[in-house]
């Protein structure tokens, strides 16, 4: 019997209209875990690097995490991977809720989708019954609306649905895949739309078995209790109404203007009232004691849910207040657009209009007020109408299509992807490396285990490390104890810290854990329930596979290196690894390049950021080295670039 995983993937060919249930290879070494780890392997093996993201040969993969469906709490992140037309690199995105566990209870670890349907279809999975069905009656329907209609049509309220809205249908690059007020962004919705797949509806009533039941359940309950009683996990933004951090420090508009001192008591009270006067409740994801999602119902408007910084992005892009975000979020969520990148695209367009690069004639009948303008742009983008057709290709691609100096306004992207609107003074070495080398496109997918800032006094630092259970190695305690000024830290420590931050994300995203209880959250308080010192035991108890810290760390390195190779094969090189030029006011090009070189060497990559044969072989990835050599990307003589 296979424990924790089901051992089966669903292979769907939308061109041929076929459905296959395929047994997966038993990987007792746990080499790629599940989730994005095993998805990256499929993308490496089955999508040749020259494949256009819009080709029917591109795969769209929905993965459960290895530990989904077990009693381990907060293990519910569904992982979606494909190749993105925006970056031409591997897309990686996650959504919370109930979909992944339900898929496992239906008997599958992954849904691997290839081909394209001729018109809109949806996939219906009810245990062994899997059908590709007509979805033309759902054309233009909103994301949650689609979920609701499918539940009614299939007469089962317990079905879990992931759907795209109008944006995905129209292949908007910022399109998201939505499920239960949670969404996956960063390049996956556009491919789901391109494949003409409107939705996936899943219902499962089978069991997930675990190898060592009593011990795993006991461990799960211990972690559950710790989570329930701890402020060290979950999304503190769901409860802390003081949001001065983002408003005073992040940039407004097209990631341009900082407004220090913006936040004040009167504002906080007003916004707090707005929230609590209109909030139905806070909801959580499958088997998690936290409740990170605020569910808002404004009079006469669509109910919506948001998490984290998602409540700030629209009004900050528009220089408005929270009521504007509340007004637009419900509508944007039904259209299915990413709330992080979309407002930046809109602010970018308005800046081009101000600058005279775009003209009034490009925005026929656009209202005068900024509120009206944002709604106008949203409609244009999700319909790909007029200027919206260009903007729907995201900031970086739109700037190139518009030309005429528009490129200079594309100032907040890395690898052609919109970054968080952060503009700071002096370079922070760890953040430089994370933004430069991160391939999950967003800093929040890389940062998170090591604190962002040092603590002022020695006593405070000592107290912090005394109860710091999460550290994978004692050296991190030393780094923290001796860290007094933000930028004053050795390059060696910086490399280690970035590596640990990365490790936790790659592990979470392969096992299915939520970042708020693991990878993303340790930076604030250090007290996360899942970490390098207990995750190996969780894997061992659930799967029966022997696991320890060194082995898990090696799994992380293998997965991370494979993903780098997947992207290198599609052209990713050193020159692409640059944070936005104005991310920090003061830049030191020479130091940055030195640090980048050190990091590449630390990772076992050559000077172009390509993993060497030696590195690949040490991670059992000789097949990757062979391929890179055959393609002339690695030089067999020195492992360096040809």
């Amino acid at each position: 019997m296979r424990y924790a995983e089901t051992g089966f993937n669903l292979e769907i060919d939308l061109t041929l209209g076929t459905v296959e249930r395929v047994e997966t290879e038993l990987d007792l070494a746990g080499s790629y875990l599940g989730g994005q780890g095993s998805a990256a392997k499929l993308l490496w093996e089955r999508v040749p690097p020259e494949t256009d993201p819009f080709s029917p040969d591109n795969l769209l993969i929905f993965s459960t995490g290895l530990l989904h469906g077990t009693p381990l709490p907060a293990c519910n992140r569904t992982v979606v991977n494909t190749f993105s037309p925006q970056t031409n690199l591997m897309s990686h995105s996650l959504f919370g809720g109930f979909f992944g566990p339900e898929l496992k209870y239906a008997g599958y670890d992954k849904i691997v989708i290839r081909g394209k349907a001729t018109d809109l279809v949806y996939l219906y999975i009810n245990n062994d019954k899997v059908e590709i069905r007509d979805a033309t009656h759902l054309r233009g329907k909103g994301c949650t609306e689609t979920g609701d209609l499918l539940k009614k049509e299939l007469k089962d309220q317990r079905i879990q649905v992931a759907a795209i809205g109008l944006a995905g249908e129209n292949r908007v690059y910022m399109a998201s895949i939505d499920h239960n007020h949670a969404s996956a962004a960063r390049g996956v919705g556009v491919i789901m739309g391109d494949k003409r797949l409107k939705a996936i509806a899943v219902r499962g009533t089978k069991a997930v078995n675990v190898a060592r039941p009593a011990e795993l359940f006991e461990m799960s309950q211990r972690i559950h209790q710790k989570m329930a009683g701890s402020s060290g996990c979950g999304d503190w933004m769901a409860v802390d109404e003081d949001d001065s951090f983002h408003h005073n420090h992040f940039a407004w508009g097209n990631a341009r203007t900082r407004r220090p001192g913006y936040w004040n008591k009167e504002l906080q009270d007003r916004w707090t009232n707005l929230k609590y006067d209109n909030m139905d409740r806070q909801t959580g994801c499958y088997n998690c004691p936290k409740k990170c999602r605020n569910v808002i119902k404004m009079p006469g408007q669509q109910r919506f849910g948001y998490k984290c910084f998602g409540k700030d992005t629209y009004h900050m892009a528009a220089f408005l207040e929270l009521d504007f975000s509340y007004e637009i979020l419900g509508i944007a969520q039904e259209y299915g657009v990413d709330s992080y990148s979309t407002p930046q695209v809109m602010a970018f367009a308005l800046e081009l209009l101000d600058a005279g690069i775009l003209q009034d004639k490009d925005f026929p009948e656009m209202p005068e007020d900024v509120r009206g303008r944002f709604f106008y742009l949203l409609e244009k983008i999700v319909r790909r109408e007029g200027i919206g057709d260009i903007l729907a290709d995201s900031v970086s691609q739109a700037a190139r299509r518009i030309g005429n100096g528009a490129e200079a306004y594309d100032h907040n992207t890395t690898k052609k992807f919109e970054q968080l609107p952060i503009k700071l003074g002096k370079l922070n070495p760890a953040y430089f490396l994370m933004i430069a080398t991160g391939e999950k496109m967003s800093i929040t997918q890389i940062e998170g285990s090591f604190p962002q800032d040092p603590l002022p006094t020695e006593e405070q630092r000592q107290e912090f490390v005394n109860k710091w259970e999460a550290v994978p190695d004692e050296k991190f305690k030393d780094y923290f104890l001796n860290w007094k000024k933000r930028s004053d830290i050795s390059d060696e420590a910086t490399c280690d810290i970035v590596d640990w931050n990365e490790a936790m994300h790659y592990i979470d995203d392969s096992l299915g854990f939520c970042g708020f209880v693991s990878s993303f959250r340790g930076q604030f308080g250090g007290d996360v329930p899942y970490h390098m010192n207990n995750i190996p035991e969780a894997i061992a108890l659930a799967t029966g596979v022997a696991m320890d810290k060194p082995k898990l760390w090696k799994n992380f390195q293998r997965i991370r290196t494979l993903i780098r190779a997947v992207n290198v094969r599609r052209g990713l090189r050193r020159k692409d690894e640059r944070p936005p030029e104005d991310h920090w006011a003061v830049r030191d090009e020479q130091y940055e390049q030195e640090l980048l070189s050190k990091y590449y060497a630390f990772k076992g990559w050559n000077s172009e950021g390509i993993p060497t044969r030696q590195t690949l072989e040490s991670l059992d990835l000789a097949y990757v080295a062979d391929d890179l050599e055959q393609r002339g990307i690695l030089d067999p003589a020195d492992g360096g670039p040809r």
Binding site: P71, F98, K206, L216, F217, A228, T283, G284, Y286, K297
Partner: protein, 183 residues
């Protein structure tokens, strides 16, 4: 607790739907506890508690498996409470042919909440234990044991007479014989 003579313990789970976050940890734990060997498999479809959820209408109602009925409802009721409309089976605990809830997916048998009966008894049922938000709260109270209800004389007769009036005596007797044979 050892109820005195004439006393019995009533076990109660108090449900506060306003506190429910819809996390379904209760379903997970119930199914784990009732799996064999205990905790070896998780399958919310086998849980004796289901959370009726609908994010569009903000409905989150945990319901416990009650009695089994072989006939479904023809008439349904839709409750509106505090301006919020609940779906039609939200407050019903029956396992019935109308819906899939509380039917063991493998055997098709009805499931029923047993308050996590076990020896030695648990401190509180598992669904309550894992409900971080205390939407479920367990309590026990002592009540006086009532005299066992006497079979109401004539109840059977009343029922049979009603049936005979509707279907005729022959039909009722013939059907009773058939049922006897089927058993």
């Amino acid at each position: 607790m050892n109820p005195g003579i004439g006393m019995k313990t009533v076990q109660e789970i108090l449900v506060n739907v306003d506190k429910c976050t819809g996390c379904r940890a209760c379903e997970m734990a119930c199914s784990a506890f009732h799996s064999n060997p205990q905790f070896s498999s998780i399958n919310p479809a086998k849980a004796r508690i289901h959370v009726v959820s609908n994010e569009l209408t903000d409905e989150y109602v945990p319901i416990f498996a009650g009695n089994h009925t072989r006939s479904g409802c023809d008439g349904r009721h839709v409750y509106t409470i505090d301006g919020k409309t609940y779906s039609e089976c939200s407050f019903c605990r029956a396992s019935c042919p109308t819906r899939e809830n509380f039917i063991e997916p493998d055997s098709g048998l009805a499931l029923k909440c047993d308050m996590c009966e076990s020896t030695p008894p648990l401190k509180q049922p598992w669904c309550v234990e894992v409900c971080g938000e205390h939407a479920l709260v367990y309590s026990e109270r002592e009540v006086e044991r009532e005299e066992p209800a006497r079979a109401a004389p004539g109840q059977l007769e009343v029922g049979l007479q009603a049936l005979m009036k509707q279907h005729g005596m022959e039909a009722v007797i013939a059907r009773l014989k058939d049922i006897g044979k089927e058993k």
